[in-house]
């Protein structure tokens, strides 16, 4: 690699962009009441919300992996009518305001919802106000991240290995599990990390669909909002900082492990 002079026309806006992203985080650090940080961390509500957040985000990621990897494979490897429409539909939760997602989930899976009404009457299963409901809300907003990442990895992968396996008599399922999956494993892991991070930060769909109750549906973002609402800015800052630290730590750790950055 040769060392080049960076043109100021690129360097200045690049630094501006970096500052724009980092400055609000600096504001958070600047305003953190460090002296009471530890005692806040020990409050049972905080630990409870953090535990619930980590649990639901991980379960949501698992759900996304089970549903999303086959969906990505379908989009990348199979030609079928309406594929472009399906791809567009999958990206909808990316641009949809999360509150709208929450309302949509209520109308589909709520007690009087399209499918939820039937679930409630037949099995007595109702998702709102349950931890499972939080997982569903988080998975809804996070799934596109996984599908897009995995589809990209599949499109970038060399299909000659799959063709060779097929020529040697491997079924499509065997080819998928023994050739394709190992080939795009880093892509799946990267998508999974993104998906987990998005699930961890989920707020709007969760509070709308799953409600807010400590220990059952109150994840960290909801706890931050409620603390802010109560006028306890210091408390909200501390909770935000914890959430930020957890996300950054895990993203950084997994990024080095899975995303081979040059």
């Amino acid at each position: 690699m040769t060392r080049q002079r960076v043109p100021p026309a690129l360097l200045v806006p690049a630094i501006g962009g970096l500052l724009f992203l980092v400055l609000p985080l600096a504001g958070l650090l600047w305003r953190t009441p460090w002296s009471t940080l530890l005692s806040r961390l020990r409050e049972p509500e905080v630990a409870q919300a953090l535990r619930l957040s980590l649990l639901t985000a991980s379960l949501a990621t698992l759900l996304c992996l089970v549903l999303g990897v086959p969906l990505a494979w379908l989009l990348a490897r199979v030609t079928f009518p309406g594929r472009r429409l399906v791809r567009a539909l999958i990206t909808v939760p990316l641009v949809l305001p999360p509150v709208v997602g929450g309302i949509a989930l209520l109308l589909a899976l709520g007690r009087r919802g399209l499918l939820g009404g039937w679930l409630d009457e037949t099995f007595g299963v109702s998702l709102p106000f349950t931890t499972a409901g939080v997982v569903v809300a988080e998975a809804f907003v996070a799934l596109p991240f996984l599908v897009i990442a995995v589809e990209g990895a599949l499109r970038g992968a060399d299909t000659r290995y799959e063709e060779a396996a097929a020529t040697l008599g491997a079924s499509r399922w065997i080819t998928f599990t023994h050739v394709t999956l190992p080939l795009v494993a880093p892509g799946i892991a990267a998508g999974g990390v993104l998906c987990w991070a998005r699930a961890l930060g989920e707020f709007g769909a969760t509070i709308t669909f799953a409600g807010n109750y400590p220990g059952i549906t109150q994840t960290m973002p909801l706890a931050v909002y409620q603390t802010m609402e109560s006028g306890d800015l210091d408390g909200a800052v501390v909770l935000s900082l914890i959430l930020l630290a957890v996300s950054v730590t895990i993203l950084a750790a997994l990024r080095d492990r899975w995303l081979a950055a040059p």
């Binding site: 209520l106 109308l107 709520g110 007690r111 009087r112 709102p128 106000f129 509070i207 409600g211 807010n212 109750y213 400590p214 549906t217 909002y225 409620q226 802010m228 609402e229 109560s230 006028g231 800015l233």
Partner: protein, 236 residues
């Protein structure tokens, strides 16, 4: 200074400009109506509203949000902003009711019925006025209740009833009245022990102190109180 301007505001030359009003979520409908009437009576003045939970509004104001008037659903939140509020005045009272699905299918007659097994109840979080009032009323009734959710403002709690996701919610009478097409209202005597008093104040450092004072005076006028009582509020 603000006071003298305010006194000259009534009947004096009209002050043009925008009045920014931060108001409790439960005031949404009545203040929207009041705002239109005020604009009609004060040509050239526009009223802008920011409706949310009173606690959130108080936090926004202490963090420097540009507001001219603050109308809170509880004096506690007015106290939060301290001397940023210029002479807060009580202007209405509000009482809690039980909102149920249309036709009251679970036949709820009082707060004691809310503890029935399998019944889903939404309350406001204790941090916001409707939640604090609910806590007081339930204590007064001696009812221990585990809600399925603690909503961030009264409108969110009411929505959960409208959607049918909960069987009942404790909300203000005014909000239940606004939603009377979708919900039924059950009055309960213990709510008399938890009446919310709403203060309104011009804010120190208001960009438009004259307009702000005129708006507050309008809310406190006979016309203003008439709109509010029609919505189910009680005069102070």
């Amino acid at each position: 200074m603000v006071l003298t301007l305010g006194l000259s505001g009534c009947g004096g030359p009209e002050e043009k400009g925008t009045v920014t009003v931060f108001a409790a979520a439960s005031l949404t409908e009545s203040f929207t109506t009041l705002g239109k009437q005020f604009e009609a009576a004060h040509q050239g003045t526009t009223v802008k509203f920011n409706f949310a939970g009173s606690s959130a509004l108080a936090t926004q104001i202490t963090q420097g949000a540009p507001a001219d008037v603050f109308a809170s659903a509880a004096s506690k939140n007015m106290a939060t902003i301290g001397d940023a509020a210029v002479t807060p005045t009580m202007f209405v009272k509000n009482q809690l009711v039980i909102a149920t699905a249309k036709g009251n299918p679970k036949q709820i007659t009082g707060v004691a019925d809310l503890t029935e097994p399998g019944l889903k109840v939404a309350l406001c979080a204790a941090e916001v006025p409707c939640g604090a009032a609910a806590g007081t009323a339930l204590d007064a009734a001696g009812v221990k209740l585990t809600p399925v959710t603690l909503e961030q403002d009264v409108k969110a709690a009411l929505s959960k009833v409208k959607l049918g996701e909960v069987d009942a919610a404790l909300v203000y009478r005014t909000d239940a009245r606004t939603a009377s097409a979708d919900v039924d209202t059950v009055e309960f005597p213990e709510s008399a022990k938890a009446i919310n008093e709403y203060p309104i104040a011009v804010l120190k450092g208001a960009a438009n102190p004259t307009g702000a004072r005129q708006f507050v005076d309008y809310v406190l006028s006979a016309d203003g109180i008439e709109v509010l009582t029609a919505a189910g509020f009680q005069a102070p």
